[in-house]
């Protein structure tokens, strides 16, 4: 990962969402992207120029554009039509984003498009967050990494976050992934937990 004067940056054409530029690089703001927050808090996750990424919940393409700066190709799945309009503009200026308008909970619908990937990044806030990730593990190659941004409040607001975390952890492990690390995203995102998993 590239850091300039303590700021996380990525190298690519700027002006995607009005991001700040630093020595010609695009500043990756931890307040606007959970993945950037994860890097600020310290993680062993690395993005490389030969990495293939399946990105679930691409939204407006803010984080997607940074991930695409670091990697070979990003398969960006988003279900909502309005963010998709923005995502298409972002993808238009980058040759390595493949936009897919589909429900991440139904991977069969984009199965013909997506190849085996090194990294799955799951940022769909849904009560079925964990099972969405597990449904997409078929795209992850052996030894590949999966990142889940867990938001306990969209799973069940009435329960204590720690309880939801524990339950998610069991579900992930039963789904055949090994958990490498868990990182709380506070202070950038209170009550969010990032799970770093590996497929053995």
């Amino acid at each position: 990962m590239i850091w300039i004067e303590g700021h996380l940056v990525s190298v690519g054409p700027g002006g995607v969402y009005g991001e700040r530029m630093l020595q010609g690089c695009r500043v990756w703001d931890p307040k606007r992207s959970k993945l950037a927050a994860l890097y600020y808090l310290g993680t062993e996750l690395e993005l490389g120029p030969d990495h293939r990424v399946l990105y679930l919940g691409a939204a407006n393409g803010t984080t997607v554009s940074h991930v695409a700066d670091y990697t070979e190709v990003v398969y960006a799945v988003e279900i909502a039509p309005r963010p998709m309009q923005d995502l298409l503009v972002v993808a238009g200026s980058r040759k390595n984003i493949i936009p897919i308008l589909a429900d991440a909970g139904r991977p069969a619908l984009y199965r013909p498009l997506v190849e085996e990937v090194d990294l799955i990044y799951q940022d769909v806030a849904s009560p079925r967050q964990v099972s969405i990730l597990l449904g997409n593990v078929c795209f992850l190659k052996e030894g590949g990494t999966a990142v889940l941004m867990l938001k306990p409040r969209s799973i069940d607001v009435t329960r204590h976050p720690e309880e939801v975390f524990r339950e998610a952890q069991t579900e992930i492990e039963e789904g055949g992934l090994r958990i490498l690390d868990r990182v709380l995203l506070s202070p950038y995102y209170p009550d969010h937990l990032a799970f770093l998993c590996r497929r053995d």
Partner: protein, 284 residues
């Protein structure tokens, strides 16, 4: 045989798919629908002769994915007729803005004219705005002109909403009027959403506050929401109003389904429905 987006592979034999992105997009859609597609691998595509290298693989896939995404996008946006719904929301916000600006102008006028009172009865052909404009200064009267212009725009938009509703909701519009039909669809969140809604929900669409206060604290349930705007409902005698609203909503629920699934007016249904609503209002 294994089917990939770039071609069909059977053992060593391979049939490359046509390279045109539009045709590829159609192929991908078909493969996704069939459910037995395999996860693609670029090396198979090269071995098969469909593509030269990894760069060409990604370029072709990306072009096809773009066409597919744009096609699906057009489809979803068209489905919810968001044009009509956005028009109704604009209409509501215009009302809000016009009221706010008028209110503020009156306050301004009152501050500089101590003798002014709102209570004074207006001459039949004069609006409050016209009255204030008589002795307003240049800035205020310029603003008043703008308010008048917004009013004109509002009535133009209202006519357009009615017309559009008559096109996309012919049965609902014939039964309840274009504007009421459009408002119902907006409150429901779309034409499909209105079509799958039970009649009892349509009856109280737009009476959210009353409905939830009924559900949580047991106040009397609302008799009507937006359907109240229909002449037969608010024109009915008080004790009949609930029944008229219920009958009208029942018929509107059927009308919305015809609109969404059959997409044309059904004269026989409309005649029966109008009679039923009329009868409901007459009964003692």
């Amino acid at each position: 045989m294994e089917s990939y987006w770039f071609g069909d592979v059977e053992g060593r034999a391979c049939e490359p798919a046509p390279g045109d992105p539009g045709l590829l997009a159609e192929r991908i859609e078909l493969l996704a629908g069939s459910g037995d597609a395999c996860i693609p691998d670029w090396r198979i595509a090269v071995r098969c002769g469909a593509l030269r290298d990894r760069a060409e693989y990604l370029k072709r896939l990306r072009d096809a994915a773009f066409i597919l995404a744009e096609k699906n996008l057009g489809r979803t946006l068209q489905l919810d007729h968001s044009g009509l719904i956005q028009m109704v929301r604009m209409l509501d916000q215009l009302d809000e803005v016009i009221n706010l600006l008028t209110e503020r102008s009156v306050e301004w006028h009152r501050a500089t004219h101590p003798g002014f009172s709102r209570k004074r009865t207006l001459p039949a052909d004069r609006t409050l705005i016209a009255l204030i404009r008589q002795d307003a200064d240049e800035t205020l009267s310029g603003l008043l002109d703008e308010i008048e212009r917004l009013r004109d725009q509002r009535s133009l938009l209202m006519k357009q909403v009615s017309r559009r509703a008559e096109e996309v909701l012919p049965n609902c519009s014939a039964l309840a009027g274009g504007l009421v039909a459009a408002r119902l669809a907006t409150e429901a969140g779309g034409i499909r959403e209105l079509a799958v809604m039970p009649a009892a929900s349509i009856q109280v669409l737009g009476a959210k506050t009353a409905l939830f206060s009924h559900l949580s604290t047991g106040t009397p349930p609302p008799k009507h929401g937006i359907v109240y705007q229909h002449g037969r409902v608010h024109g009915a005698r008080r004790e009949n109003r609930g029944r008229v609203a219920r009958t009208l909503s029942a018929k509107l629920a059927i009308a919305a389904r015809i609109d969404y699934y059959r997409k044309c007016a059904d004269a026989e249904f409309l005649l029966n429905a109008a009679n039923a609503v009329r009868r409901a209002g007459r009964r003692e």
